[in-house]
Amino acid sequence: MIQLQAGSIQAYQQLLDKHLPLINRYIIRMLDNANEADDITQEVFIRLWQKAQRFDPRVARLSTWLHQIAHNLCIDHFRKNKIDQGNEDSNLLEDMPGGCEPQTALLQQRQHLNIKQAMNYLPERQRSAIIMCHYQGLSNKFAAEVLEISVVALESLLSRARKKLRENLPAPTE
């Protein structure tokens, strides 16, 4: 990071290698649109390049800082475009494994759409908390830092999110 602050391209490349995939995945899940997510991801890393001087390692870790920027840009994006729910983007669906039975594939696709919709019904902060803790595998302290709340508040946010998801998803088959 010190090298990046000095304007080193190599340091920037190393940081891109390390953080770009994770940040991109976070933004894709937040926006539910892979193409728009790429634009926001670019913006996050342009800010990293331009505002590297402002980063203070004593205040936060770089990954926390990047997630914070990504989170804020996603919120800005929602406010600007007023798209919070029901965004249809078939790009998000991961390719079905090869040799999959058509019926199974259809079932998986339906399941995927249900979860996608249920995720989109979540308020922004709840969605962000679920993405960080469930999908990104980040620690509770990390997620709390990104959202600038206490761990206790994060737990309450996550509980509400999971409750809402359960309400909006069809009953699971055992």
Binding site: I9, L16, L20, R25, N91, E94, E155, L169, P172
Partner: protein, 176 residues
Amino acid sequence: MNLARFTQIVSAYGSKPTAWPEAERSAAEVFVTTNPNAKILLHKESLLDNQLDGYLVKQNNIAGLQSSLLSSSKSRQQTLNTDKRKTESTTIDPEDAIEENETPRFIDILIQWVLPLQPRFIWRPIIAACCPLVIGTLLGAAIDLQQDTEMYSSTDSWDDELALMFYIDSSEMAHE
């Protein structure tokens, strides 16, 4: 660990022990093995987790995104270096500067001066934006002055004309 805390943990973080708070993980894992209610809770949460795991996302071309970011940062770096070099080259012999193509160089310098990359030079675009205002004010004042002068001269000619009319009238009256 007690059932109340265990309930809080699984309702927030789900059924996977890897997602549980590190400090309480081992205690919670032991608690599940001893408490049947905890097992039921864990099973209930695992059903939701399984559903959530079905939400997969496809990333676009990460390598392409990375290369475009790198190339844009390189170009920014080059612009920054050029700017630095140009700032340093202000001490160059003026005759050497004349040898180069002057028009594009001047425009480049002007654009880079007006729109600097560093935020500490924010005063430059402000000054550039104020220039038309100052020029406009000066021009306006000059035009007003000109109009005033024209008004005076036209008043003079009106006076002359009135005097002439009066002279014509009085000479006609004298003839009669």
